[in-house]
Amino acid sequence: MKLRLRERRKGASPGYQGPKRRREDREEHRHGARPERHGPIADHLYAHRLALAGGLRRMRRSPWATWLTILVVGIALALPTALDLAVDNLGRLADDWRRGADISLFLTPDSDDAAARTLAQRLRDDPEITTVRVITRDQALEELRARAGVGEALDLLGENPLPPVVVVTPAGSDPTHLATLRQRLAGLPGVDLAQMDTQWVERLQALLRLADRLATLLGLLTAVAVAVIVGNTLRLEGQSYAPELRVSRLLGASDADLRRPFLYGGILYGLGGALVAWGIVLLGLAWIAPAVERLASHYPQGLELHGPDLHALLLLGLAGPLLGLVTARVVIGHQIRELENP
């Protein structure tokens, strides 16, 4: 019925203005609060634009609190990011070291250097091995004497107790592949022990796995800390805006209307914090880069500092605002529910 009425009005000839005008006057008077039609999507976008502007305005009104919050959130977010980066870089380093690792084949104690050379000759044709080097019994003794400072004790022995060693450099670098190769070499006749010179790297890698876990834990704790910081700032903001919230509700604002600017506030705090965290991490990398270069000059393989990848930066850029949004929803939602009527 209503629809038909509207159609009729639309179809009314433009020359005939009498009753139509009167009805419009009355409409205007009676339903004036209803805004011009812009369509639901336009209205929705408009409400969000206003809320964003409102959120920004509230932040500008107390710039100190805003900047402090953003700074603290940034520092909190930077900590796990930096730790994650450190673990990542050390992990790459450990991989590099591992890749360059040799396998030492200790022959049985009764073997002589000739047996070692024969074995070496055979291994040179092995496609899984790039280089082969023989350490004779005398060389082994010399090395031990020089390295361990046990020269006098060794002299007491009289006879050289050390077997010859064949050191091979594997072609591949895949850890499981290396492990199979080591096992195969250990099974060769005359080989007493096949040892990969990577035990300390493995230990380092185990430590790094632990550090990785700690970084995750730190990340979770940071999320809680950020929620507390942002939540507290928003709670105080909500308190100072209580009169406006009460009056707005009296005038017909829904809870969602009241919350919206604060939700944008939470997003902006999180986003600002994420940007600050990016800045801290990138500045920190620039700061330690020269020291890393100096360190790299001592390593033949070289050392390269890897910055955060795009993935990590995006994760940070999403986690901050999302955390801010969720916090704002919880804190302000609670505050609005508790709000008393005027």
């Binding site: 609060a33 805004p35 406006e244 005038l251 604002a253 809870d255 209307d257």
Partner: protein
């Protein structure tokens, strides 16, 4: 528009502000609620506005049961009401203009449209020269009028006013009353709580007389 049946409002502590009153205000009707202070006028208006919930009985506002109306449906109803409370609850961090514009901004009206309507409302209440002032610098009566402008700017279907002329001198009070009557003439339902019986005694509207929470009389004027 408003239908109350055996409406009871008891506050925590046992004070019974409304003791089971029944009445009906038709759509488009203008009605006064009178009685001494403490008779329950404000409580009745607060219940109709949905600022408080009935303890017992029925209160229908525009067909909505105010005892059971879900919280989230209240804003839709509020947007069709204009509410004038004794304390105008103005916001002192913004101008008179922005105070009056608030209900229009809440329904998503665009600034261009808001400006015209706010000026029209301020004009009706004789505040046009004061739109850029902070309400803090206005007199009590002027602040009251800003509150009324804010209540009528959205051209509500239902206008609720609690002592709207309390801070106004008699001439101004009469003007405000004429304004409410003008709104009523174009179809707005108006419910006004007042103890100023001299102001309304010659007005041709029905009066609900409350006495200690009970409806003593319901006169047709």
């Amino acid at each position: 528009m408003i239908r109350a049946e055996r409406l009871v409002k008891r506050y925590p502590g046992g004070h019974e502000a409304l003791a089971g009153i029944s009445f009906h205000v038709e759509r488009g009707e203008m009605t006064f609620v009178t009685g001494h202070s403490g008779a329950g006028k404000s409580t009745l208006l607060r219940l109709v506005a949905g600022l408080e919930r009935p303890t017992r009985g029925t209160l229908l506002v525009d067909g909505k049961n105010m005892a059971t109306l879900p919280r989230r449906q209240l804003p839709r109803l509020r947007r069709r009401m204009g509410i004038v409370l004794q304390d105008p609850h103005l916001l002192y961090d913004r101008s008179v203009f922005d105070n009056v514009a608030l209900p229009l901004a809440i329904v998503g009206m665009r600034p261009r449209e808001i400006a015209g309507r706010v000026r029209a409302a301020l004009d009706k209440l004789g505040l046009l020269g004061k739109e850029h002032l902070n309400p803090r610098v206005l007199s009590g009566g002027e602040q009251q009028r800003v509150g009324i402008a804010r209540a009528v700017v959205g051209k509500p279907d239902l206008l609720l006013a609690d002592e709207p002329t309390g801070n106004l001198d008699p001439d101004l009070a009469r003007e405000i009353m004429d304004l409410f009557r003008a709104f009523n003439e174009v179809g707005t339902t108006v419910l006004i709580a007042t103890h100023d019986i001299y102001l309304i005694e010659h007005l041709p509207y029905r009066r609900l007389v409350l006495e200690r929470g009970a409806l003593r009389r319901s006169d047709a004027a």
